[in-house]
Amino acid sequence: MKTVLELRNVTKEFPGVRALDSVNLHVGRNEVVGLIGENGAGKSTLVKILAGIHRINEGEMLFEGKPTSFRSPRDAFNHGLAMVFQEQSIIQTLTVAENIFLGREQEFLRFGIIDKRSMNSAAKVELAKVHLNCEPSEKCSKLDFAARQMVEIAKALSLDGRLDSDIVILLDEPTSVLERREINLLFEIIGELKAKASIIFISHRLDEVLEVSDRIYVLRDGAVVHETASADASITGLHEHMVGRQLDHEYYRENKQRSSFGDPVLSVRDLTIDGELRNLSVDLAAGEILGLAGVVGSGREAFARCLGGLMLPSSGEILIDGKPVKLNQPNQAVDSGFGFVPSERKSEGIVSGLSVAENMTLAAGKRFSRFGFIRFDRERTECQHWIKRLQIRTPSVKTPMQSLSGGNQQKVVLSKWQIVGSKVAVLDHPTRGIDVGAKEDVYELIREMADQGIAIVLLGDTLEEVIGLSNRILVLRDGEVSAQFDAPAGAKPDQLDLISNMV
């Protein structure tokens, strides 16, 4: 098999961190290569090196046997390496066709004027490859998330037939927002594509990687720790390589899981959010962790955002300590005792222009001010306490938030709600995009919060996470509760049971 893309001893260092440590990797023609690893294992650095966003410190990259270094994602694209990013790169105000050919309108130009008809029909061809049935002249803002993802893939596929060189398509977590049906479709497409291109498939869903790949690399702490043909691999085996040890109960701090709870804190009665959620009722006690499982669109995100005051309920009742509360605005939610940790940390979780201390006390203004004046002493003492307790790595309380790592930023967000004294913490993907060590710190912290009597609503990054951390799990499907599982320490429900209720 001819090797199309190869990395030789690639090392990448950031100040203080070795993100990649002599990585060797090759991709053959017409091969599907799976790349797995935990968040923080170096996957995204690897992707950014391939895309030309980062430069290699040591080692080299070869494309079709020639040493290559791409200058930008566009440069990589023009050479035949197309990427579908986890964070979408679709411009919502442009049409589907315009997005697919963004930056490459040349072939549709007639005397400087874009021939929309030929562009749309060319787009139609690409859309057919991903079996997406939408008008190329449709604005992308009108499509749902999954459809936009398909447009993104169609954009990558459009290289096919337009280049003489080999084509490598890199799919970075393409399934994280797709439903099973769409995932199956995607795998079908990958099967068809194999005839024309090579594919790098990055995911943290081991079953999927196993299903679709020919060969798998496992990344851990910036190094390739394992390489195997899919035929010889198993989920548990891959997982062990990925986390570097046997999966044990220690990881999710199950020994610290509570079995007795305080008084009921939160009661939700027949909560309905039009088009998102129907008649959800649930009770939650102090110190209890309620996990929510479900695919995208199942209603669990809507439920979480509703508790955060960021989405209006259409009907139903929410009670705190037996008293009904209104959650029309985020400030009402905060005043009622909710603390919302959003999944979009960068845009909703932190204020990047403010300092660590300012972020920590953002929601607890009154406690740290007198007559509107900030009590800096009190603030500093409190913040230093939390920095120490949560082991937040920051030079000082005055450090700008943007210079902290993702994990430390997330700890600041969590401390923000503890400082306020929230009764109910709503954690929407609290470990998204943070490294392994920080993840464990966050798990530890969640347990501590439960010990303090905070009721916790958890939307996990993975199913395992939800199972490992929760006392009780609510499974949602199409906006309704489809099942409920108790998950006491030592008697956790099986992933497959949950999945069968999710889809």
Binding site: P330, V351, L354, A363
Partner: protein, 316 residues
């Protein structure tokens, strides 16, 4: 050099810019550095600074206030029209009118959800009508007695220091305290930096915006009073041609027009830069035909120097 030191120096660039301009002018006309002249230049700058001071908060939010010129003219009319009848109460009334204009802007932006650019432009139009109504479409003179009794705080001189400068420094101090020591000030920066996160933290963002517009209106009103005192009259066009220079001095000082980054002392320095360039041209003897051209070029160069690009990712 550590990041901290670099940041410290970046913060001082507007002052360096000012000093270069001052000494550049002094090199040609040493008389420029006479203490009395420097005092006069500073005093002449204060009305501009007062107008820009409150608007700085609005710009730090990422919004803009285009009504300040009309508000200043309006309060000059109100104070000039009311002083003979009401005495000192007229001052309070004028300031209240300025704040009320800010309240209107705040309400329109928050509840009608109209972008501040248009909202404040429109409110400015309304304030101009109020000014015409209050002044009966005339310039109104303020008698010397009234001026001495009620407006000396703005125009007099004590121990060689012009009162305008005192008022300006007082506003500088008060707004600096508000911006750096109060929760409101912190929230102004927060909203300008990342509004979504502030909302998600349960902060009443509308309230923050509202107060910023009120402060802006109040300060524009105060600027109108000081102008009326200095010129001895109120007129619906008293503050004409002040709007763009006022916003220019906010930006020249280094406050980002996109919000999140800025401070009052930067606006103070920005106002001085603008004034020094303008008056400096008269001093150095730049022909009046070239003055506008030189002014425009220096403005662009000054901003190119003073803007701290490390804090603004995309320059729009």
């Amino acid at each position: 050099m550590t990041e901290k030191h670099k940041q410290f120096i970046r913060n001082l660039v507007p002052i360096f810019t000012l000093l270069i301009l001052v000494f550049g002018i002094a090199a040609y006309e040493p008389g420029f550095l006479r203490p009395r002249n420097l005092m006069t230049v500073t005093a002449d700058t204060m009305t501009l600074f007062l107008m820009a001071s409150g608007a700085t908060l609005v710009i730090m939010l990422g919004s803009i206030d285009l009504s300040i010129q009309a508000i200043a003219s309006m309060t000059s009319c109100i104070v000039a029209a009311m002083l003979p009848m009401f005495g000192g109460t007229a001052l309070l009334f004028a300031l209240a009118a300025g704040a009320a204009a800010g309240i209107l802007s705040g309400l329109v932006v928050n509840y009608l959800r109209i972008p501040s650019f248009v909202a404040t432009l429109a409110i400015g139009g309304i304030m101009t009508s109020v000014a015409f109504w209050a002044s009966n479409e005339r310039s109104i003179y303020i008698s010397d007695e009234d001026k001495l009794v009620w407006l000396n705080w703005a125009t007099g001189t004590t121990a060689g220091i012009d009162h305008e400068v005192v008022v300006g420094l007082a506003v500088l101090a008060v707004l600096s305290v508000i911006l750096s020591l109060t929760r409101f000030g912190r929230l102004v920066r927060a909203v300008g930096s990342q509004e979504r996160a502030v909302v998600a933290s349960g902060i009443n963002v509308n309230g923050v915006k509202f107060f910023a517009f009120v402060i802006s209106g109040f300060m524009a009103g105060l600027a109108g009073l000081v102008m009326a005192a200095r010129l001895g009259s109120g007129s619906p066009t008293l503050a004409s041609e002040f709007l763009l220079p006022a916003i220019a001095c906010i930006i020249v000082g280094g406050t980002a027009i996109t919000g999140g980054v800025g401070s009052i002392w930067k606006t103070f320095v920005g106002a001085l830069i603008i004034a020094v360039v303008r008056i400096g041209m008269t001093f150095v003897g730049v022909t009046v035909f070239a003055q506008q051209i030189v002014f425009g070029l220096v403005l662009v160069l000054a901003v190119a120097m003073t803007i701290d690009r490390t804090k603004v990712s995309v320059v729009k």
